[in-house]
Symmetry: C2
Subunit: 348 residues, 2 copies
């Protein structure tokens, strides 16, 4: 096994630096490491950190049907855990259709007094291709159940059948419709990974189209830069056990979404957008997250645009591990921070 | 190259996570990497990222005189840049003695209207051993000059002659004295690295001794845990080009300070302290910082104690690189964030 590792390292070292990276400056040579599971996190997060790399992290189907099969298998696995989650959190999920777009209404048994008139719009992750249907509601269920607030989760269209801008169009349809029947000052948008990208892109689109903006947003570890730029794509490569490495499955799925469009278009890579006038924003990431850089870059860009923006970074966590285990205390911490942030900025 | 990458990743995926290591939880095997300088930061920060490892990062003198020589050489180098810095920022520095403790009064030519009655106490970094005298004032000069506020920088006693608690005693002497002649509601404490440790320890000590607390604090990349615990000691090892690795020079210097005391004593490792009742706190770090974990751990602990606390993380930066180049736009960003934070929480 040592030999395989050495060959692999040698081959990786042969890969030239990314486009957009300064070639004249010396790279940092970092030796191979065996990094232990830290003792500074809960046993539940330790278990996630100790888990092997996502089995499909670099399994790339070569046909549309191949992708559909992989997505269906992932969705089936995710859906298995949902009944127990709903029971534990006292939440119910009902499918609906809003102006032709599929969505789920997620309602906790108890809605907090301050949230009676509030509504959150959730856009799920899954690298723009995974987590269709019910399987995409998990993060929305966490939010509804932990923060006692009503959530609508958008079941947006996805590749291989529906590339950009289908997902964003669907999310905007739901936003426009709900912002008519609800006061947008009492609404927020949230979602992680591809959902973080879409959350940011929705605000850019709402700005462009002069639609009402939400009162706050919570993009979690957003795929804010689809050009492959961001230092942690390198520094946390093979350390993050969820996305694992740049150019692997998640990026291949994102490529089905971008489908030949200019990757620097802010609707695809929101970090390149004009973030002035954005609503207050809370961002969440982890120290081992492959998207650590692309979360903090958005944070800095928002702050430089004068937007009230808060950053929370969780010790040892890889990509979006803050909503993988309802029993992890860090999970409740992450959602409570977002809940408090929304409570601060949303009208009642 | 794409093919090579795929082969490398496939081979890596074949390596069992626990190869050859017997532990309850499997460590993460991360291959060697050559990590380019990111294109996502200013040219000034790129230059810092591209710099070789600190030449003395693992040069450990074996005698007290050896340390004194190394410290003197470092101080001489740092002091060389100070006259130009003072000129650029229109700041003057005067030595003083406060209740027997050496300090520097740092005064900008223009004090901002809102800062007329405010005073900041600065505790410098240098792993508890380095940056004596004028050489320890650099961060204080940045703050005074960029934020137009008066600063007193404590020139606390250090090992090898004066181990713990001399530095903390000196800092507290200055705090107690100045909090009598100034309104502590108009005062803040700040400092990076060992200065971040001391900033946190000062508040713990003030709490313990029922002294007035500052209105806000800004511990930058604090050495909050001297026990060697914190995931980024491993994940950012050999990536951070300032501290470089756990157990190296900085930790050896810290050991001269702790000098046999219990490392888990919160006065030495403030992350283990009771942080309830702390004043609003702004923390600063970088994605490549060896102390990234020990910065975010303090942030989470403060938030869980209900303390208003803000975290800023700079793309690509190693330990405390936010005050190494006055021309880097990220330097002004970092200090402006702290300045705005102080302005929010300090009385006028």
């Amino acid at each position: 096994m040592k030999l395989i590792q050495q060959i692999a390292m040698t081959l990786l070292a042969m890969i030239p630096a990314h486009a957009g990276i300064t070639q004249t400056l010396s790279p940092r040579e970092v030796p191979a490491k065996a990094i232990p599971v830290p003792g500074t996190v809960s046993p539940e997060i330790q278990k996630q950190i100790a888990a092997p790399l996502t089995p499909t992290w670099n399994v790339i189907p070569t046909t549309a049907d191949g992708w559909r099969e992989q997505v269906a298998a992932g969705a089936l696995a995710a859906e298995k855990g949902i009944p127990a989650l709903l029971k534990k959190l006292n939440v119910r999920v009902e499918p609906t259709v809003i102006d032709g777009v599929k969505a789920f209404i997620i309602t906790p048994e108890t809605i907090a007094e301050e949230n009676k008139n509030r509504l959150l719009i959730h856009v799920h992750g899954g690298c723009f291709v995974s987590s269709p249907g019910l399987s995409g509601t998990v993060e929305g269920i966490y939010m509804a159940g932990l923060e006692h607030v009503k959530v609508i989760s958008v079941d947006y269209r996805m590749p291989p059948d529906h590339p950009y801008p289908a997902a964003l169009d669907d999310a905007m349809t739901v936003w426009s419709a709900t912002a008519k029947t609800h006061d947008p000052k009492k609404m927020a948008i949230f979602g992680s990974s591809a959902g973080g990208n879409l959350t940011l892109a929705m605000v850019l689109r709402a700005k462009r189209d002069k639609l009402p903006l939400p009162a706050a947003i919570a993009p979690g570890t957003p795929m804010s830069d689809l050009t492959g730029t961001g230092d942690s794509f390198q520094t946390n490569s093979m350390l993050d056990n969820v996305l694992v490495a740049s150019g692997a499955s998640c990026d291949q799925r994102a490529a089905l979404y971008t489908n030949g469009h200019d990757l620097k278009d802010p609707m695809l890579s929101p970090v390149y957008g004009d973030l002035s006038g954005f609503p207050p924003t809370i961002l969440t990431t982890g120290t081992r997250d492959l998207l650590l850089s692309n979360t903090v870059r958005v944070h800095r860009k928002l702050r430089n645009a004068g937007v009230p923006s808060t950053l929370q970074v969780f010790e040892g966590q890889s990509h979006a591990q803050y909503y993988r285990d309802i029993n992890a205390p860090e999970t409740k911490e992450a959602f409570d921070e977002i809940g408090m942030f929304f409570n601060q900025y949303l009208a009642r």
